[in-house]
Symmetry: C2
Subunit: 595 residues, 2 copies
């Protein structure tokens, strides 16, 4: 279907927005009136620019507070509508959005509103224009698409139809099934936005926290299915009011936005996007720095085996079971240790590569010599590189053979990468969710918040359903530079207590956990003294899952090197969390001391 976006969804001037939409590959746009008013381009110039860029101008919006008023007010409203139609005509746009009256409605009557819409329709026709009537979720009298359609139907005018907006329908919990009763030729336009359930007042929710499809919790595919069943075949248009997108470069936002429509059309089987299965596990984590020796010491203390250096690059490999850590000193001048790349094992790497390209993922390039393992590769919105290979039959990827002069690994307590926590700049956090969900088929948990000593950290986990791949995405509070929020890699263990004891013997410096925490643990969970003493002795943390079958969790942290630290975790009895209740203790302990 045709793809479109409302200019209000992007930042910048109208001209910049049009360029960004064209560059991303949208078919067209809705022009938001205030964007035109503030533009130094006349309507005719905007129309000509859109033509040169190959963008359709689908809709001009919005006309507000027109209907459901007394006759004196309506006369003024009709004059106002005429001025807007004149502008739309100059833009070459034949469709204008009319929102249900929020501010000035005094007459709660379908007949009066229908009569006034009909007269607005008569006026619109003189300009060659049609009007799409939309029920805003906070409309004074009309706040339900079913009533908006009833009024439009009563108006019975060829220039009067409805606009459906997923936000206004789903945020109110209205059943979208009745959309199918609306004749296709009367659905003049379709606007799409996703959202997380916030249950703040619906106006603030709508104005600040809309998201692109795939980033929220709405069943957008289900919604659009009803609209398609009604016979609608116009554009799919995004109208996403969001405080972040208002501030960030419109170029990447437009790509991000179009990706969400591709994702949605894929979910509806409207376009052929390759079906790639989700990853079956982590392949590796790459830590990059000018000098990785401090990380090597840590890994050695934690029982990892050095497997040698790569045959063609200044890169070394450390492993512990299926946990593979690649240390990369190539082109890393002045860089402190950080998570630079994540490798995933997928059922079919070629399929994932095709899917990534079809979803416009930027490609990551790595030099690969003959006979070395090729990887599928893409760059996530925060700059982290993702690589993928086909799940090797014996679990060990072929590229491990490219490392030489290493030791042979003996079995130990660490088995696998449990999760990788990536800190996100606030600008790209939503985009990252869509990127990882769209390309790798991960699903996003409900977002949460971690109270740190200097602010709240927003956190959202993307993961496979079976938990084989889990990535919490953390966003720093405003006062903290995103680069100061460390990332971490958590390794799954079979005997985390034994591992901690051995690591201490090897000289590992643990994160300092305050004594008060252990007094609290005992009281909170009624743990026995022996266990508490052991946890306290080894600076281990403990958590329990919800309910009586939530399992429990024992974990510990290393100190931070560069912007990375490591966590070692053991999940008992199906524990499915991340020890978030311990995050305040960890965050306080990690905070640099003010001396």
């Amino acid at each position: 279907m045709q793809t479109s976006i409302a200019t209000v969804s992007l930042s910048g001037s109208l001209v910049e927005k049009l360029h960004a939409c064209a560059a991303a590959g949208f078919d067209g746009v809705e022009i938001f009136e205030p964007d035109l008013i503030a533009s130094d381009h006349s309507p005719e110039e905007v129309r000509a620019l859109a033509g040169r860029l190959g963008l359709e101008l689908y809709l001009y919006q919005p006309l507000r507070d027109l209907e459901g008023v007394d006759e004196e007010t309506f006369a003024d409203n009709l004059r106002r509508a005429g001025a807007t139609f004149r502008t739309a005509q100059r833009l070459g746009i034949d469709l204008v959005l009319v929102c249900s009256n929020v501010a000035t409605a005094t007459v709660d009557s379908d007949e009066v509103s229908a009569d006034q819409l009909r007269r607005i329709g008569d006026l619109a026709q003189e300009f060659g224009i049609r009007i799409a009537y939309e029920a805003l979720a906070w409309g004074r009298f009309v706040d339900d698409y079913r009533r908006a359609w009833r009024i439009a139907e009563l108006a019975d005018h060829p220039a009067v139809g409805v606009c459906l907006d997923s936000f206004h329908v789903l945020s109110r919990g209205h059943d979208p099934a009745a959309i199918e009763q609306i004749p296709a030729h009367k659905i003049f336009f379709l606007q799409l936005a996703d959202a997380q359930p916030l249950s703040m007042d619906v106006l603030s929710w709508s104005r600040h926290h809309r998201k692109f499809p795939g980033e929220g919790a709405f069943d957008l595919a289900g919604f659009v299915r009803h609209v398609l069943a009604a016979g609608y075949d116009g554009p799919l248009s995004l109208e996403v009011f969001n405080d972040t997108f208002r501030q960030t470069d419109p170029g990447p936002t437009a790509v991000h936005a179009l990706r969400s429509l591709l994702w949605l059309q894929d979910a509806l089987h409207l376009i052929p996007i390759t079906d790639a299965k989700p990853p079956v596990g982590f392949d590796f984590v790459e830590i990059k720095a000018e000098d990785t020796s401090e990380v090597e010491v840590l890994l050695g203390q934690l029982g990892f085996t050095p497997r040698g250096r790569h045959r063609s690059k200044p890169v070394s490999l450390w492993t512990a079971g299926a946990a593979r850590v690649v240390l990369n000193e190539q082109q890393a001048r002045d860089q402190l240790p950080h998570v630079a790349a994540i490798g995933l094992q997928v059922p079919d790497a070629d399929a994932t590569s095709r899917r990534a390209a079809e979803l416009m993922a930027p490609v990551a390039y790595r030099r690969t010599y003959a006979s070395e393992q090729p990887f599928g590769a893409a760059i996530a919105p925060d700059g982290t590189e993702f690589f993928w290979v086909t799940d090797p039959p014996d679990g060990v990827p072929a590229w491990v053979g490219e490392f030489r002069d290493g030791l042979t690994e003996a079995p130990g307590a660490v088995h696998r990468i449990d999760h990788v926590n990536l800190s996100q700049p606030w600008q790209t956090a939503d985009d990252a969710v869509l990127f990882l969900a769209g390309i790798f088929g991960l699903s996003a948990d409900a977002p949460g918040q971690l109270p740190g000593p200097t602010g709240l950290i927003r956190s959202q986990v993307v993961r496979t359903d079976d938990g084989a791949v889990r990535m919490p995405l953390n966003v720093a509070p405003q006062a903290i530079d995103a680069a100061q929020l460390p990332q971490h890699v958590a390794f799954g263990c079979s005997d985390v207590i034994g591992l901690a004891r051995a690591a201490r013997g090897a000289g590992l410096e643990f994160l300092a956990v305050p004594d008060n925490y252990y007094d609290y643990l005992r009281g909170r969970f009624g743990l026995d003294e022996t266990l508490v003493a052991e946890l306290r002795d080894l600076s281990l943390l403990y958590d329990r899952g919800p309910g009586r079958d939530g399992g429990h969790f024992v974990h510990f942290y290393t100190r931070t090197v560069g912007s990375v630290f490591f966590e070692f975790v053991q999940r008992f009895d199906g524990y499915d969390g991340y020890g978030v209740d311990n995050a305040p203790v960890r965050l306080a302990a990690q905070r640099p001391r003010r001396s």
Copy 2:
């Protein structure tokens, strides 16, 4: 009354928080359990530190999800409560907060909850502790203070009383009058927070957007009056969950917090704070820069008269009627033009000075030579200096006589300073409202938002009721450095159109207003062609007030010099706004061009 604050209201470690509270002058604190758990100080060390700092430890909090449960769960809860009482005992605290059950309550019965509270009370008594039961606004069954009191009354136990929290009562719209029915000796504690009406879900509202008394819209004085009428004479304790205070230096936040309790006690006539009447007008605005000549050219084009240089400082004065602009080049090395100080005329400068000192305003120091005018002076949270003098009988302050070798002013179109718009760092915006409201008796309008091309600007006006002094406080979006958001001074005129024409003749460069704006204006308000043509010709903006008697407004902007621009406004027929609907056009026009 005694003053107190919950440690959760501040950022940093528990030790840092205690130092900040003591330095600000609080009598005591509530210890928030997670702050203790994350602290490297044992309960005994915290107790000793508080003792050395002269801080009472009034309350330990919170115990959650205890009552209204089945007996098996209750047995575990009782064990958990015991551990908390033990910790409170080690802290030397004899009062523990028990919040109404949110998560685990399954029994909706006053009798069951009362019985369980009674047994918790028995246990508490063994530790020499009392419990204060509080209805959370989102409690599962108990979400109203009246029900919490009914349960505590039924429990009928000397160690069981209630805690009242203004947020939980007022956010739900509950009538606080029934507080007076609670016996004083059963009100164990009082927590205070203010808030703006947000109507998001009450949990998010409470967790992120509480404010200190005087910064929100709650009638806190009325609330506390009921509590005092009940006979309560314990501490007034602030519990303010706020995303900003979690991130900012606890030292200034603690001062800010204590100021809010002084303000509140003053409003209740509980402490003797000098009653200073609000300002009657602006005295001057001072613009500071290493080189102010560019500002001088602008003022000259706008009809201001140079009144000469100060006899003892590198400072000059420009006036237009009662609009006085002081240009200060003293100690301004490398500084671009910015609003450095605001002068106010008050009914009694000595009274305002006493009030400022009593409300802990930091003093601004300026060298004053013999026979020069002394000013009252204070530094606002964002660093702007405020000065005040007693309203001079003839309207002209004596200090004008300290300027020499200037010209004599002829009457012109500009008459006065209409408003001064101060951009605020997000860290100090709430503090600024309390500071200006508390010291000068200004009142705060409801906060709003201005959509700019690169993000939403938060805006809140503080003003006198008669409009003689108005200061919009603007907060930049996160992506923009606060210093990049310009400030402006708006001057009131009797003939803004004539002024614009004269200024253009004098070579003034106007802010470029797009042509589309004038097409929109005509359509929006049905203005006649002559007026639209005149507005368009002179780059003037237009607005109309709400309803049919809102008056109208004509205004224009200069370009920005340093971080200041000027606005010239004319209010017609009682127009009381600031042309905020035109802000998007202004903000787009002011945006630096990407070339």
